[in-house]
Symmetry: C2
Subunit: 404 residues, 2 copies
C-alpha cells in the first residue's frame, strides 16, 4: 500500500505575543495558562473528581445560584447554547426567541433544528428589547421556553432580563439566557432573577481559554427534562447522562477535557479571590475610560446609551476609515486584536473587548494610543493626546467615586 | 438582593503525579503540555489560521488520507462520533451498527437519536466480527451507512475493517469507523481502506489532552452531506458550517478551542517526527513485553488472540483478586492509573493502556513491578521476578526482530 507523504517536521510552536481586545478569546492570566500546562489526572481520579466538585461550587458562586445542576459542558459557548435548547425543547414545543444580534439568530437556528415551533421577535442590532413587548409576545405565543441573550456579543447590547423572566413565569414559560459574554463581567443573578437555564463560555470575562461551556438549570428545568417524552436528540449534550458523571455516582459518560477543567477551576478561583462585585467594578471603570477616550476621538457607540456592555464596546468606524486597514495595522505593529462587525454590522463596527484579565488600564492606554496613531495617519481631525487625557480624567473621576 | 456566599479562596492547583496507564487520557509529552500553556492567539488571527491549515495536513498524514474535509471537531471523541452520525444520517435512513463493546453500543444510541432506522449486529465483548457475517447483514439490511469500531476501547478488540469497507461499497453503503483508540497506535489507512467517515480522539495514542475529535470525510461522504434534504440536527456539529471556518473563506462558526488546537498541532508534530511506522512498532514492542510479563503472572487476555490491540490490554482479573483493592493500591502507592472493566466486564477486567507517550519501557517495567508486589501480597502463587524477566526477554527478542 502506498504510504501518504510524510510532511516535513514542523517547527516548535511559538505564537506571537498578542493583546486580545476583541470579542474573545480574551487575555488569559498566567496562573490559568500554568494550569493548562499541568500534567493530567485521569477523568475518574479521586483528585479530579474533587476538582469537579470544587468547580461546581465555584460556578455556583459565579452564576449566583444554588442550582444543583451547575457544571461545564465539554464544548465552547455555542455547545452550551445547544445543550440548553436540546434539553429543554422537544419536537413541536413552542419557543419564543428574542433576536437583536447574531447570537439571538443562532438560538433560532438551534431551536429549529431541535424541532421547536419558533417565534422570533426582532430588534435592530445595537438595541435591546423593552420588557413590555416581550411580555406581549409571550402572552400571544404561550411558549414553553423564552430564549434571550443577556449580553449580545455581536452588538455589545446589555439586555435587562429580570422583568422578562417574571413575564415568562407568569405565562407558565421557562426562561433561558445566554451569558457567554456577561458572566464575570457584569452582574448575572441566576437565582435572583429566577432564570431556568443559562449557558456561558470560558473565553470571555472568565478569561480562560475557549473549550468549555458553563451551564446551570433550575429545579424546574431539571423536572421538565426528566418529564420529557422523547429522548434528547444529542447524546453528547444529554444533561441526564452528563449529570450522572458530575453527580455523586460518577457514571462514565465521556472523557472530560482535563486540562480545560483545570483552567476553568483556576480562572474561577481568580474570580473568587477578586470578588464578583470588585470584578464588575473593574470592568465598568475600564469601560468608562475607554469610552471617554474614544469619545475624544469622535468615535460613538452603536449600542443604545444605557445598554452598553462595559466588556464589549461596539463602536461605529469613523467615516472614511477602512475597517481592515486599521485592524491589520493594530495587529501588525502592536499585536493588538480587536473584532470587526458581525452580521449586518460587517465593515461598519469595531468590537473592543475589555474582558476578564484583559480589562486593565494598561490595555486601555495602549489601545487608545495605538488607535490614535493609526487614525491620525489616516485623518488629521483628531487632536493629539485628547484620547489619553480623557481616559485619564475618567480614571480619576471613577477612582474618586469608588473611594467616596 | 442577597449575595450568594463567596467560597473560600481555593489553593492553587497542584495535581499529584500520575502514570496514566488506563484507557485514556494517556500520558502527555512535556512538549505538548508546554503548548497548552502558551499565550493565546485569536481564532481568526492569521497565525492561528495558518496553524489550522498545518494541523489539517498533519491530520491527513496521521489518517493516511487526502480527504479535503479533515479537521478537528471542538469536543471529545464522543462528539466526533456524534458529528459523523448526525451529518451522514437523515431521519429514516438505515444504519447498520456492529456492536462488540460499549462504543459500538454508543453508536447505536447516537444513531437512534439522529432518527436512523438502526440494525445492530452483536458479538460478545472481546471478540471481533467476521467480515462474512457483516457482509451478510449488509446485504440483508441495505443500509446507507455501516458503523463499526476499529479499536474497541472497552474490550481491547482490534477489528479488521478493510474487507467490511469493501462489502459496504459493493452494496452501495458508506462506512464510518471509530478510531478513537487506534489513531497513532496501530495502522489506520483511511484512503487505503476506502473509509467514508472516521472520527478519533486526542487523548489516546496521539497523547494530547482530551478535548478535540479529529474527523475526516471522503468526497463521497461530503457529497452525501450536501445532498441532504433535512438540516443537520446539530448546529454545533454541522460540518457544512464548520468546514467553512476550516476552509478558505474562514467564515466564523464558533470560537475554536485555541489551546487545544495548539496541543493537537504539537502532538501531531511529534507523530511526524517519530514517523507512523516507528510509532506503530513502538506500541507493538511495549505491548509484547507487557503481555509476556502478565503471562508470567498467569494473567490472560479477554480479547481474542490475534485481535488484541497493543495500546489497550484488556485482561482478566485473576481469581480471588478484588478489582478495586488493586487499582486503589496502584494509584495510592505508585500513582499508577489503570482502567476497570466497562459494561458487562465491570469488576472482571483491567484495561491497561500503553498509548502514545505512555507506551514506554519505563512504564511497562514500573507497572509489572507494582502489580507483582500487589498480587504477591494478596496471593502467593506468583514467582518473584518472573514478570520482569519475561518482559525483558520479550524486549530482547523484539529488538532482535527489528534489527534483523
Amino acid at each position: 500500500m502506498p504510504i501518504s507523504p510524510r510532511p516535513g517536521s514542523p517547527a516548535p510552536l511559538n505564537p506571537s505575543a498578542r493583546v486580545l481586545l476583541g470579542p474573545g478569546p480574551s487575555e488569559v492570566s498566567p496562573r490559568v495558562l500554568s494550569a493548562m500546562g499541568m500534567p493530567l489526572l485521569g477523568h475518574l481520579d479521586p483528585e479530579f473528581v474533587a476538582l469537579m466538585d470544587e468547580t461546581q461550587d465555584l460556578l455556583r458562586y459565579a452564576f449566583r445560584t444554588e442550582n444543583r445542576l451547575t457544571m461545564a459542558v465539554s464544548g465552547t459557548g455555542s455547545a452550551g447554547m445547544e445543550a440548553v435548547v436540546v434539553n429543554l425543547i422537544e419536537p413541536g414545543d413552542k419557543m419564543l426567541v428574542c433576536v437583536n444580534g447574531v447570537f439571538g439568530g443562532r438560538m433560532v437556528d438551534v431551536a429549529l433544528r431541535a424541532g421547536a415551533e419558533v417565534t422570533a421577535i426582532e430588534r435592530p442590532y445595537g438595541e435591546v428589547f423593552d420588557p413590555q413587548e416581550v411580555r406581549d409576545a409571550i402572552r400571544k405565543v404561550g411558549p414553553k421556553v423564552v430564549g434571550i441573550v443577556h449580553a449580545e456579543t455581536s452588538t455589545g447590547a446589555w439586555q435587562p432580563v429580570e422583568e422578562i423572566a417574571r413575564s415568562a413565569h407568569e405565562a407558565g414559560a421557562m426562561i433561558a439566557i445566554d451569558t457567554v459574554t456577561s458572566l464575570g463581567g457584569v452582574p448575572v443573578e441566576i437565582d435572583g432573577w429566577a432564570i431556568d437555564a443559562v449557558y456561558s463560555g470560558t473565553q470571555k470575562c472568565l478569561s480562560c481559554p475557549p473549550g468549555l461551556a458553563p451551564v446551570s438549570f433550575s429545579p424546574r428545568a431539571v423536572e421538565s427534562i426528566h418529564a420529557r417524552k422523547s429522548k434528547i436528540q444529542s447524546w453528547y449534550l444529554d444533561m441526564t447522562m452528563i449529570s450522572r458523571y458530575w453527580g455523586s455516582d460518577r457514571f462514565y459518560h465521556h472523557t472530560a477535557p482535563i486540562s480545560m477543567n483545570y483552567a476553568l477551576r483556576e480562572a474561577l478561583a481568580l474570580v473568587v479571590e477578586e470578588g464578583l462585585e470588585a470584578r464588575w467594578q473593574r470592568h465598568m471603570t475600564n469601560h468608562l475610560a475607554l469610552k471617554a477616550g474614544l469619545g475624544a476621538m469622535g468615535i460613538s457607540y452603536i449600542t443604545t446609551e444605557g445598554h452598553q456592555l462595559p466588556q464589549l464596546n461596539c463602536v461605529r468606524i469613523p467615516e472614511g476609515i477602512d475597517d481592515l486597514t486599521v485592524r491589520k495595522r493594530l495587529l501588525k505593529d502592536w499585536g493588538i486584536e480587536i473584532g470587526g462587525g458581525l452580521g449586518s454590522l460587517k465593515g461598519q463596527a469595531w468590537r473592543i473587548g475589555l474582558m476578564g484579565h484583559g480589562s486593565r488600564r494598561v490595555n486601555v492606554t495602549l489601545f487608545l494610543a495605538a488607535l490614535e496613531t493609526c487614525l491620525r495617519e489616516l485623518s488629521a481631525a483628531i487632536a493629539p493626546g485628547a484620547a489619553l487625557a480623557a481616559a485619564a480624567q475618567a480614571y480619576a473621576a471613577n477612582d474618586a467615586t469608588v473611594q467616596a
